[in-house]
């Protein structure tokens, strides 16, 4: 709100090699709280040790925040506040319900300090007291373990969080991958096992003529020219994005739609960037439900 446009608060991290993250990039208090808690948890663990971290964790139980610490080289669980049965287990090949390799994704996120400075990872996972999987979103920090090896600390929150920053991270990562690997990256980007598919968000790619390479409606052989698509308010989001990206490298847009469960028109926020796929200029984007005001039902 007003806060967002008149303040610019950058929280620096002590961990070397990580780019500073900006806590004001996030809309939700729970995201900000989780980020701050993990930052503080990392500091406490490195400076005061595991027992101090456990004591700090107790103060965060009200918000359902539990830490976990793993050794990076072999994914040995040093500490797990939510599920103590995991402690001392090596879980290098652990996958989630969709087959996402959790440890690999965390490792990738921790090394991608440019696109994902807070090392966000999303996985589909049942809570310890539940059998049904639910989305868990976690952020991570590198820490130095007692034996001098490299590890990481993380904590997560359950549920769907319409945090716009998550699709921005995803799109930036996809652009980097496409620039690096070209067409061969497309299959991985569409894989449910990749980091690019989480909640109901995925990457779509189309060219400046409106031809889809990965369709936003996720149809394999869509013949729809995206530039002609208009939403329920007669707005042409993909055309507008293409026009914007002729003069800039990134843009935000909105797509509105009706839903049988709501009297109001619902909104998706779209984030797009321009990149090269081979020699061709393409638009890479993703969309997420717009944060909905509590009072606006």
């Amino acid at each position: 709100m007003a806060t967002c446009f008149i303040s610019s608060c950058t929280h620096s991290k002590d961990n070397p090699g990580q780019r500073d993250s900006d806590i004001n990039n996030y809309d939700y208090k729970r995201t900000k709280l989780l980020l701050k808690t993990v930052q503080k948890g990392a500091e406490i663990f490195e400076n005061e040790g595991l027992e101090a971290l456990k004591a700090y964790e107790k103060t965060q139980r009200f918000h359902d925040i539990y830490f976990y610490i793993y050794r990076k080289s072999d994914a040995l669980c040093i500490y797990h506040g939510e599920d103590s049965t995991k402690i001392n287990l090596m879980v290098k090949d652990q996958i989630d319900f969709l087959g996402k390799p959790i440890q690999k994704l965390i490792s990738e996120a921790l090394s991608d300090t440019i696109n994902n400075p807070d090392a966000w990872v999303h996985f589909n996972w049942p809570r310890p007291d539940n059998i049904f999987p639910t989305w868990k979103t976690a952020c991570h920090r590198k820490v130095m373990l007692k034996d001098g090896s490299e590890g990481f600390i993380g904590a997560g929150m359950y549920g769907y969080i319409s945090e716009k920053e998550f699709i921005k991270i995803s799109v930036k990562k996809a652009c980097s991958l496409m620039t690096l690997k070209g067409d061969s990256s497309l299959q991985y980007i569409q894989s449910p096992q990749s980091a690019f598919m989480f909640f109901d968000c995925f990457i779509f790619v189309y060219d400046f003529n409106g031809n889809s390479i990965i369709d936003p409606s996720y149809k394999k052989d869509s013949k729809l020219n995206l530039l002609l698509f208009k939403d329920v308010t007669n707005h042409f989001p993909f055309r507008s994005i293409a026009e914007q990206l002729k003069i800039t490298d990134e843009t935000w847009n909105m797509l509105q739609f009706t839903s049988p469960e709501s009297m109001n028109i619902r909104k998706k926020v779209i984030y797009c960037r321009k990149t090269k796929l081979g020699n061709k200029d393409v638009i890479v984007g993703s969309m997420i439900d717009a944060p909905q005001a509590t009072w606006f039902k």
Binding site: M1, I6, S7, Y28, I161, Q256, S262, M263, A293, W295
Partner: protein, 459 residues
């Protein structure tokens, strides 16, 4: 009557309880601070235009201009409402704010056709309200005290979700409550209420202003990181004339948006009607039935202000339930307070740094202030309901309309499956309660009408 039978005193029954009456000008010092108190409450809602610009991905300059223009229109509207010139304006303390009623539809119009369409449709909505104003005089029979009571109570009830979201400091669905937010809101609310109950003199009179100031300070102390919100303030110009990025004479209309804007205009008119009736009950408690003349004048002024919002490219404004409630709480109902508050808000529009500073009052503090103010609005409605002897018919009218209107707040998703034309009635508790109360009252009194007609025929 009924209240007196039960040994209860009507809060607004005694005219001599009013501290500053409708036409009385308070002493200058009191006038300034009472007006400032009202103005601060108006300014806290300037967050809505800021959210609007954020939604349309506008930049800081646009946001500042949009907030400023909206404040200028709010100020003009509040001044007009305080005057009563040849049937224009109500002559009550019933200021204008940028309320949430038009938010969604204005956004939709913007997405469809930018500022020209949004402005055109808001002007259209204002014209509808102005057209309705003269007809109100002929609708007195539709609004007996029980129906008026239900409408006034629901003006307050319908904004509870907005207030409570602020109170908990959770602007978005599925977000968390932080203890710091709830503690600040609870403390602020208790402080304002305590000052209002036990305070003497200025402490009682300026309870809201004191509560907001102390609550704001407490919030900064317990969440020091919030100080960073003010870091960018020096970069905002102190004095500026708002510049909107559109051709002033370019106005668009859309047939497709006519019906939604017509409905939202009717809903806005109902809300203003409720606010004006509440203002009348508070200002002139001795009246036994509604005086429709100032109400019609108020609706006319409100419609004009809404159209002015469109013309100037501001967010649509309408009357403020919170401010009417605050007048009830402080018992200072002089229209001059509304006029001076309007002038303050009008000037704030040219001082973006000041208006932005107030617009970032922590949401829990705003939530607490509005909760306090709205209590008086809801209770005024209940008092109006209980001011007459309730027979079985009236109990059914009040009970059924309240229950079904509250359902729209509790389970809105159920009404999403209704046909579009009916959805609008159940879009919030104010519209549903008003429609139901009017229809049920007329239906349950059909036998009286039948008896009257039969009697006339026999004669």
């Amino acid at each position: 009557m009924l209240l007196k039978q039960h040994g209860l005193n009507n809060y607004f029954m005694e005219k001599n309880e009013i501290l500053y009456s409708q036409n009385q000008v308070p002493p200058i010092g009191k006038l300034i601070f009472l007006s400032l108190q009202q103005a601060v409450l108006i300014l806290t809602t300037s967050i809505l235009p800021a959210i609007f610009i954020k939604e349309i991905s506008g930049d800081i300059a646009l946001s500042i201009s949009f907030v400023s223009v909206t404040l200028i229109v709010s100020g003009i509207g509040s001044i007009l409402q305080g005057f009563k010139i040849k049937g224009f304006g109500s002559g009550y303390l019933c200021p204008n704010v940028c309320g949430p009623s038009y938010f969604s539809l204005s956004l939709q119009a913007f997405w469809m056709g930018g500022f020209p369409l949004m402005r055109g449709m808001v002007i259209f909505a204002g014209i509808i309200e102005m057209a309705l104003a003269p007809m109100v005089k002929y609708l007195r029979n539709l609004f007996p005290p029980v129906v008026v009571g239900v409408v006034v109570a629901n003006v307050g009830i319908s904004i509870i979700p907005l207030i409570f979201a602020n109170f908990c400091g959770s602007p978005y669905s599925s977000d968390i409550m932080l203890w710091q937010d709830v503690a600040t809101a609870s403390f602020t609310l208790m402080l304002i209420t305590s000052l209002n109950i036990w305070g003497k003199g200025n402490f009682k009179l300026f309870c809201l202003l004191i509560g907001i100031s102390v609550g704001w300070l407490m919030y900064i102390l317990i969440i020091p990181s919030e100080n960073l919100n003010y870091v960018g303030l020096p970069g905002i110009p102190l004095l500026a004339i708002p510049k909107m990025p559109f051709n002033f004479f370019e106005l668009h209309f859309s047939w497709g948006l006519m019906f939604p804007f017509l409905i939202i205009s009717l809903c806005g008119s109902l809300k203003t009607f409720g606010n004006l009736v509440a203002a009348q009950k508070i200002t002139t408690p001795e009246l036994t039935e509604i005086d429709m003349k100032p109400i019609a004048g108020g609706l006319w002024a409100d419609g004009f202000t809404t159209s002015l919002s469109g013309l100037m490219g501001a967010m649509a404004v309408d009357t403020s339930s919170g401010n009417v409630g605050l007048a009830a709480a402080t018992k200072a109902v002089s229209r001059w307070i509304g006029i001076v508050a309007g002038i303050m808000v009008l000037f704030a529009g040219f001082f973006p740094r000041i208006s932005l500073l107030i617009s970032i009052i922590p949401p829990p503090v705003v939530g607490a202030a509005l909760t306090f103010a709205i209590v008086f609005m809801v209770i005024t409605g209940f008092q109006e309901i209980f001011s007459v002897k309730l027979d079985q018919k009236k109990i059914a009218v009040v009970g059924l309309s309240m229950i079904f209107s509250l359902c729209t707040q509790f389970v809105p998703e159920l009404f999403a499956y209704l046909p579009k034309s009916l959805q609008i009635i159940f879009s919030n508790s104010l519209t549903s309660s008003t429609v139901l109360a009017i229809l049920l009252y007329q239906f349950f009194h059909l036998d009286n009408a039948y008896a009257l007609i039969s009697k006339k025929i026999r004669l």
